[in-house]
Subunit: 315 residues, 2 copies
């Protein structure tokens, strides 16, 4: 067993969160991760209160274990979603895409452990000051919306800047990544891409297949021109988007419109040409479909072995 | 002591290389690093045979310990430089910016340990096949010319793809970074940015000061439009360059010309407005000027402590 304060903090066996991936992280996937001893997380993404409430109630039929909801702060439904997590007594809330200060007091009063995803030292400090129970320091090698700093550079800097627990995310695929994160000062990890291959992950088979067959250089970052960089797998859609970013005949609005619906086309339709297949750089380290519980066990068996051996470097 | 095969391979006390930074890594800095127990490296950059020979002869007056030369494969003088390292019996050659296969045979015959910097699995495999003694897997959080993959994602993938030793570079500032690199499968590290603050590093005081005062988000990547991304500190020059990359009224040639001489302006003149101050994301973790030997000792004292404690995570 890996002994981490994160396990006590949120009541889990293994110090691992499953990332709150929009369109992907639903009650089924989250329940499988929680049942496997990690913290499963439902992504509220741009969904409304009704959808989220339904998923929360569904996960409670699938597991008795703790779970979380990821609140995307730029969602048009963020106000009602922020209320639902209180009403439904969600044990853990992670937040993305902004500063959750506005909701912290109400969430903390409701007994929710709030754990923001942060891309920088300042955001980590702000989270701590406003009452976060921990922070997830996410490096830009991860999939989806990304920050500038990488996990190697970000985690120790965040560790040195706050007193609350730090969870590392981005670029972690296996037990070696978990062990490395711990050396950098994290007390746990959040993984997204690896869980895309979980049997319980409901993405289109084409998506899963693209992840499983990806090579090291198969991701690309688009959206830098609009200031919202997003990491995804290379395909016709992402290559074209990347090219058009340097085409000034294309307005920012047209560029924005190009991305519209692309995630849905990937996740639901498996449209390999026109879909946006979000994935992190470690997609190349994901080799097969397996149950979420098995993924977690495999990762921590390896992490334990690697950490036990670490002392052997020292003579 | 940290026991690593890298120490035996190149005859050093601590498994650490100093990056071959153009305009920066000269005989003085390299000698200080080698004297401190690491591997100091002279950057051949775009210099000619005469300059390099002079630096090699100079380092031999400063230290008896092993050192290296970094051969920049895109240099106009690469042919003569490749010959000089043989004639001068340089013990270690690292290579950057390309595929060194062409020179490998002659270098290996001369008894040189060749250790290419690689940004991907394929380049690592190619290096091994053509006779490299090890590879340096460098993540894109590092300063200067960068690849796409980050250290967390790249190192384990390279480790799984080759049998020769893997050295991790990018995003490493202290002993925690060294320990993390080892968990990922590296047997040593290469650091550039941290050595910018070495007393023996001859960069302009303004450059050193910019590194020492940098914050986490103070680096920026320019050059993506031309396909040669370069990480540097934010200043008037780099912000303007980054902006002009999206200005299609500026031709690729004009953009290229904007960068000309900018590194010299930073290193030699300390021109804070118009210089290109290369640095990695961990600049924010560099807090003071100290002798290279002290930097190395501090890093490995910490690495040793962190690695010794690693087993305590496991119960």
């Amino acid at each position: 067993m890996i002994e981490s304060q994160l396990c006590q903090l949120v009541g889990i066996k293994y110090p691992i969160f499953q990332g709150g991936m929009a369109w992907i992280a639903d009650a089924n996937l989250a329940a499988a991760v929680s049942e496997g001893g990690g913290l499963g997380i439902i992504a509220a993404m741009n969904a409304n209160a009704q959808w989220l409430r339904q998923e929360i109630r569904k996960i409670r039929t699938l597991t008795q274990k703790p779970f979380g909801v990821n609140v995307m702060l730029m969602s048009p439904f963020v106000e009602e979603v922020a209320q639902v997590v209180i009403e439904e007594k969600v044990p853990v809330v992670t937040t993305g895409a902004g500063n959750p200060s506005k909701y912290m007091k109400a969430w903390n009063q409701a007994g929710i452990r709030v754990i923001p995803v942060v891309p920088s030292v300042n955001m980590a400090r702000l989270a701590e000051r406003s009452g976060a129970a921990a922070v997830i320091a996410e490096g830009g090698e991860s999939g989806g919306h990304i920050g500038e700093l990488t996990t190697m550079a970000l985690v120790p800097q965040v560790r040195d800047s706050v007193s609350i627990p730090v969870i590392a995310a981005g670029g972690i695929a296996d037990g070696r990544g978990v062990a490395a994160a711990m050396m950098l000062g994290a007390c746990g990890v959040q993984l997204g891409t690896r869980f895309l291959s979980a049997t319980e992950c409901g993405i289109h088979p084409n998506y899963k297949n693209k992840v499983i067959t990806a090579k090291d250089l198969d991701t690309i970052v688009t959206g830098r021109r609009l200031g919202h960089p997003v990491r995804q797998l290379k395909n016709k859609f992402s290559r074209r988007y990347a090219k058009e970013e340097y085409n000034m005949a294309i307005s920012d609005e047209e560029l924005e419109a190009m991305g519209s619906g692309a995630l849905r086309r990937a996740v639901v339709e498996g449209d390999e040409e026109n879909g946006c297949f979000l994935a992190g750089q470690i997609a190349a380290m994901v080799h097969k479909e397996q149950p979420a519980a098995q993924i977690i066990e495999e990762i921590f068996d390896e992490a334990q072995a690697v950490l036990k051996e670490a002392g052997k470097w020292v003579k």
